[in-house]
């Protein structure tokens, strides 16, 4: 793995709208290596009252060679860690670990990609959109938030997307409602072949269900609490349905014996943060989840442009 500890220098701080702070950090070693969907884990000061690093998905990258590449992160104020970061200015030094996690799998042939972001969760989708466009894919975007102030960088989203749709729960921008209210029509209109999404769990869950009903592969990026970010603490786990072995026909019949093995806890920091949405058990303890209308893993996917998603979910070798 290519993760490393690095000392970065803040190039600039700015704000997107009222709520979101942005830090651009000169971190060439990370900037040259990071892939969309990966994250960095940043130490928020030396003082020992809040010791844990804070994880941030990379919002934008500017590759400028081995000496000056920058990464940009965006965040809202959630507590002492983000408050500390919001006060950094040019030339401040930051201690970061990255690039961490497994990013989005990009389509292996030209594809129509729909990116669905909720609030600040849209952050990694901008970096992804840049990469997808560089590789010649069509990019469409749905951004959603509670209100217009919580939409992340609408202007750039419109610039990057062939079709860009906005939803807000209070109707202050775009359509009144949620991203899933317009997801079906957008998929049909844009002839979407793969969906990438990041945001709160209920949104990821809802987007996954729609994607599965269209038999479209869906990659979800989760944002979990984590202590280490590099795979040792086991706090950031997500329950994943175990890929069903097609050779065995046992699990359907007896809920009792099969239940124990119906899911595994996978580390969001190393096996994720990007997962096959159809494998993730969202919201709640796994034993309360019935076998919802999700296609089991391994179901043939219409025109799958990503290849074998199960491969993408294999635990890392090292």
């Amino acid at each position: 793995m290519a993760m490393m500890m690095a000392t970065g220098e803040v190039l600039g701080h700015k704000k997107y709208g009222e709520h979101y702070h942005s830090l651009t950090i000169v971190a060439p070693d990370i900037g040259e290596r990071v892939k969309p969907g990966q994250f960095v884990n940043i130490r928020c000061g030396e003082d020992r009252s809040n010791i844990l690093r804070r994880p941030f998905s990379v919002y934008r990258v500017h590759k400028r060679g081995g000496w000056a590449s920058t990464i940009e992160i965006v965040f809202d104020l959630q507590g002492p860690g983000t408050r500390y970061l919001s006060q950094l200015r040019g030339h401040s030094i930051v201690d970061l670990i990255g690039p961490l996690g497994r990013g989005f799998a990009l389509p292996k042939r030209r594809a129509h990609c729909l990116l669905v972001g909720g609030g600040i969760g849209a952050a990694p989708l901008f970096f992804l959109a840049d990469e997808l466009r560089n590789e010649g894919h069509r990019v469409d975007v749905i951004l959603g938030a509670r209100n217009s102030g919580l939409l992340l960088n609408q202007i750039d989203a419109r610039r990057l997307a062939s079709v860009c749709r906005i939803t807000t729960e209070d109707g202050s921008a775009g359509d009144n409602g949620r991203v899933t209210d317009i997801l079906d029509e957008t998929i049909e209109k844009c002839q979407t072949e793969v969906i990438y999404t990041c945001g709160p769990h209920p949104m990821l869950d809802a987007v996954t269900k729609v994607a599965v009903s269209h038999r479209i592969p869906v990659q979800v990026a989760v944002e979990e609490l984590m202590a280490c970010g590099y795979g040792v603490c086991m706090t950031c786990v997500m329950p994943l349905r175990k890929p069903v072995k097609t050779t065995k026909e046992s699990s359907k019949k007896d809920g009792g014996a099969g239940e124990e093995d119906a899911f595994v806890y996978a580390r969001s920091c190393t096996e994720g943060p990007v997962f096959n949405g159809a494998h993730v058990i969202f919201n709640g303890t796994p034993d309360l989840v019935s076998d919802v209308e999700l296609a089991p893993a391994g179901t043939p996917i219409r025109q799958s442009p990503i290849g074998d998603l199960d491969d993408e979910l294999a635990p890392p070798g090292n």
């Binding site: 490393m4 020992r48 010791i51 202590a227 040792v232 603490c233 786990v237 329950p239 806890y265």
Partner: protein
């Protein structure tokens, strides 16, 4: 991240080697169980052979899934966790992790856990036949996240003794360090029971039982309701525990751990009586903590003209 010294190969660098009972360590700084996996991830940042030792994540007889999420919440100067020893089982350790560590010449301490005495003994049996080359075994009888929290082994002298006796019988030639809980009325009494049952040394302390509540949802912040508190917040408890047990049993080798973040913290535990010190939660923050702490100890030795670290162990001055 300024002026970090690397323990170099310069001539004149102090010798950091120590004895932990019968075990020779190249330096006194270990990484604590559950904070460094089995070394693979951390080896992106640090050479595992340069660690004083690695106490691997606790292993159980069969794989354990662990508890539901959320498993962690940050607290002032520390964190609470209820992970529930998610691990792939002793067989996986023997087949995958131990060979990897041995190849890299790491000093390995296995950590074993179980829900019953029999489970501990069966893991120990597997280690006897399969784990040649391990330096020692930590017996995790103090994890606050087991099924039956009311019966933590290290909360009673009889169950502490039962586990230690069984493990020691299975592993007569391997130094065994029961890891004790600080959440007891009299730590020396538990320590005494462990030693009488055959413990070669003791590991002090495991996390401290704690809890946090979200006032908006009125729900516990951990899915497991209660959890183990770790980090700098608990260091004074660790210092007290090591001091108390060292006073009662001055010749027993102790692994001190709990909230160690830098060389000062490690030296504090050594003065209290620890021969070796494990760094835990800080590995999450700085995966090179062990290396940085060694560098700091090296500087301290030069400043104080120390040539033998063992001079410090238990060198606390009381009323003179």
């Amino acid at each position: 991240m300024t002026n970090s010294h690397h323990p170099g190969t310069d001539v004149g660098e102090p010798d950091l080697s120590v004895q932990l009972g019968s075990i020779s360590l190249s330096n006194p700084i270990l990484v604590a169980s559950g904070t460094f996996g089995a070394g693979r991830e951390g080896s992106n940042f640090i050479d595992v052979s340069k660690l004083g030792g690695i106490i691997v994540k606790s292993m159980t007889l069969n794989p354990w899934k662990g508890k539901p999420t959320p498993r962690m919440t940050e607290t002032p100067s520390g964190m609470l966790n209820a992970i529930g020893i998610q691990n792939k089982g002793v067989d996986h350790f023997l087949a995958e992790d131990l060979p990897w560590l041995m190849k890299r010449e790491a000093t390995v301490f296995a950590s074993i856990a179980g829900n019953t005495v029999e489970e501990f003994v069966r893991v120990a049996d597997k280690l006897r036949t399969g784990a040649r080359g391990i330096a020692g075994v930590e017996v995790n009888i103090s994890c606050p996240n087991l099924e039956d929290r009311n019966n933590m082994f290290s909360h009673s002298t009889t169950s502490t003794a039962a586990v230690v006796e069984g493990v020691k019988k299975a592993l007569p030639r391997v130094p065994v360090f029961p890891k004790l809980s600080p959440n007891v009325t009299s730590l020396p009494e538990i320590a005494s029971a462990a030693l009488e049952a055959g413990a070669d040394g003791l590991s002090l302390i495991n996390t401290v039982f704690g809890m946090a509540i979200d006032i908006e949802t009125r729900r516990p912040k951990l899915a497991g309701t209660m959890g183990g508190l770790s980090g700098p917040a608990i260091r004074p408890i660790a210092v007290r525990a090591v001091h108390e047990v060292h006073r009662a049993f001055p010749h027993v080798p102790l692994i001190g751990q709990g909230g160690v973040a830098d060389a000062t913290d490690a030296l504090e535990l050594m003065l209290a009586g620890a021969s070796a010190v494990a760094v835990g939660t800080m590995n999450f923050v700085n995966p090179r903590s062990a290396r940085d702490i060694c560098a700091g100890i090296s500087t301290y030795m030069k400043t104080h003209r120390l040539t033998d670290l063992s001079e410090l162990v238990g060198a606390l001055k009381l009323e003179d």
